[in-house]
């Protein structure tokens, strides 16, 4: 039974989190707080991916806002078109543009295509970027800097394309979410539950990845990339896989963020937003299973509440958080409470 606890303990922890998020929270929180928690869950979904790429894979992804944005904008485009009605075009194109819609918006009328795009677009983008970067063995700090530059460039691009993406204002004023009226409190609760459910699902996915041989290989690549090459694996492929999965998770987080926050704009996806995501992961514990998700929720909550009580001091908190956590608890706060449960790589082999 001991090995059962070791193997499935994390799953029990995920289940506890699932109950908290899906049963307890909706029962006790006001609609406003629940909606906020929904946003934190979206960040947490992205954070789970960062935990995979950074904590396990050693790739410091400083530009996850880009993939968060791809998912967010893809979903927002669909919601915009849904709000505009059949044949309608988004209001901002009439206001700021010449009233015509770019052709690449058209497929997003279809909900099915949008869902497909939310997964496929970040996967393709991450695969191309990752292929270019990992195959040429660009790594470590270079990689981190490139991803951050990507986030800066992405935000600039969005701000400059007013007629296509709404520019600085972003996309907002959604009315329906796949046919459900977003102003109905019942439906808001449903959207929240989907986000929380997706978070739980992503956690189960990484749990399986971490206990798989791929998970071991990823850690091995993080610790000794060249050595892995002489095990007959191309480390670039191992990292690429983790990077792509992380990108897809960020995209899913972004996709749920748009209907929950009611807006997606460049400031939700730029370099600052990306660093905000990293902060949660660092706080929670980058290499732990639940660390990144809990950290992201904590940082999101901190941002809401601290900025309510100390509006001017929030930046100090965030800055101090980085310094203190990296300096004192590089493995994250969760490592302090870290029982064997979520500490994965040392899992005992099942008896032969």
């Amino acid at each position: 039974m001991k090995s059962f606890a070791r193997s499935y303990g994390p799953l029990v922890a995920i289940a506890v989190l699932a109950v908290l998020l899906l049963v307890v929270a909706p029962a006790v929180l006001s609609p406003f707080r629940l909606n906020n928690l929904g946003k934190y869950c979206c960040w947490a979904i992205a954070a789970v991916g960062i935990g995979l790429a950074w904590g396990r894979g050693g790739m410091l992804v400083m530009g996850q806002g880009v993939f968060f944005g791809i998912g967010g904008y893809a979903m927002a485009m669909h919601l915009k078109l849904e709000a505009a009605g059949p044949e309608g075009i988004p209001d901002f194109m009439l206001l700021y543009g010449d009233g015509t819609m770019p052709g690449w918006w058209e497929p997003f009328r279809s909900g099915a295509f949008t869902l497909f795009a939310i997964v496929a677009l970040p996967a393709i983008a991450a695969a191309i970027l990752g292929y270019a970067v990992f195959k040429r063995r660009v790594k470590g700090a270079y990689f981190a800097i490139l991803t951050q530059a990507l986030a800066v460039v992405f935000a600039t691009l969005l701000i400059a394309t007013i007629q296509e993406t709404g520019g600085f204002n972003g996309l907002n004023q959604f009315t329906f979410f796949f046919g459900y009226n977003l102003y109905d409190p019942v439906n808001k609760k449903m959207v929240y539950s989907i986000a929380a459910g997706l978070l739980v699902a992503c956690l189960v996915v990484v749990w399986q990845l971490y206990r798989s041989r791929f998970g071991e290989l990823l850690v091995a690549t993080r610790d000794a990339e060249e050595r892995v090459r002489f095990l007959g694996h191309d480390p670039a492929n191992v990292k690429l896989a983790a990077f792509v999965i992380a990108a897809v998770m960020a995209s899913i987080g972004g996709a749920m963020f748009a209907p929950i926050a009611g807006i997606i704009s460049p400031s939700d996806v730029d370099a600052t937003a990306s660093i905000f995501l990293i902060a949660g992961v660092a706080l929670g514990g980058r290499a732990l299973l639940l660390g990144p998700a809990l950290g992201a929720i904590a940082v999101g909550y901190g941002r809401s509440t601290l900025s309510e009580s100390f509006p001017d001091q929030w930046t100090y908190f965030l800055g101090a958080l980085f310094i203190a956590v990296i300096l004192l608890f590089p493995a994250g706060l969760a490592s302090l409470f870290g029982k064997a449960w979520s500490r994965l790589p040392r899992r005992k082999a099942a008896p032969a």
């Binding site: 206990r211 798989s212 071991e216 000794a224 060249e226 090459r229 002489f230 694996h233 005992k348 082999a349």
Partner: protein, 260 residues
């Protein structure tokens, strides 16, 4: 002890042939037109003073540094193939400093080397049970008792054996070992030598080594390198008899023991 030199044709294609291999570091030829034929079933030693180009030669064959010339194994030119594909083709190597995954257990280290046996999709499954090729390697290198220890706590010699075990799991037909017995006790060297002979029967083993006692005890063929070139190749006795070798290399190190 010595095996007769087999004819390459009897062995099919399982030999590594190096022709005119040259590694040029911005004008400095670290390896300069080396020809070698490394046959299966023999323990082949590569010796020479520091800077002779031994490690660079191995680096070139395993894709770590770009080189010109030819390194052929099973009709494949290794110089045009990336490192991990060379490994998948059956050529494995170790490094001067043992590089095992210190946080992983001995068993996990061996298991992770078994990638050649798995499809990418199979990687998504958790490991359960011990695959037979891992169990075999564990026995062969004598680490069965330590299988659940983190590799980081192993003694230096044990790490080297673990690395050899990982090569076994990889199913490497050609093993390029860079100073595997450096820092080992005499007893450990004996065990390592015996291990190499045991596994060398069906494989091509190439060992870079400085320790002449070890070379004398276990070498089937010795190649002496100097300044990027092959100085001489032959049996231990032939090498020791060579005046050139005496001059550049053996002269100092082995003089005392040749009389013994």
């Amino acid at each position: 002890m010595r095996l007769p030199h087999p004819n390459p044709d009897d062995l099919g294609l399982d030999y590594l042939e190096v022709r005119g291999l040259t590694v040029d570091f911005d004008g400095f030829k670290a390896v300069d037109g080396v020809d070698l034929t490394l046959l299966q079933g023999r323990v082949h030693f590569l010796i020479g003073p520091n800077g002779a180009g031994k490690t660079t030669l191995v680096d070139a064959v395993t894709g770590l540094v770009p080189a010109t010339g030819l390194a052929r194994y099973r009709n494949q030119d290794l110089l045009s193939v990336r490192s991990h594909k060379i490994v998948r083709a059956g050529i494995g190597r170790t490094f001067q400093t043992a590089t095992v995954f210190e946080e992983l257990s001995v068993l996990q280290n061996l298991d992770i080397a078994g990638g050649v046996h798995r499809s990418p999709f199979a990687l998504l499954r958790a490991r359960r049970g011990v695959p037979s090729y891992v169990a075999d390697a564990l026995e062969t290198v004598g680490l069965a008792d330590l299988r659940d220890r983190p590799a980081g706590v192993l003694a230096h010699g044990q790490k080297q054996w673990l690395e050899i075990g990982m090569l076994l799991v990889q199913d490497a037909k050609v093993m390029l070992l860079d100073e595997p017995v450096a820092g080992m006790s005499a007893e450990e060297r004996e065990e390592t030598g015996a291990l190499l002979q045991r596994i060398g029967e069906e494989r091509t083993i190439v060992v870079i080594e400085h320790d002449m006692d070890f070379v004398r005890s276990f070498a089937d063929v010795v190649t002496v390198m100097h300044a990027g070139k092959v100085l001489i190749e032959g049996s231990v006795a032939e090498i020791q008899a060579s005046p050139e070798v005496q001059e550049v290399y053996l002269g100092r190190t082995v003089e005392g023991t040749t009389h013994a």
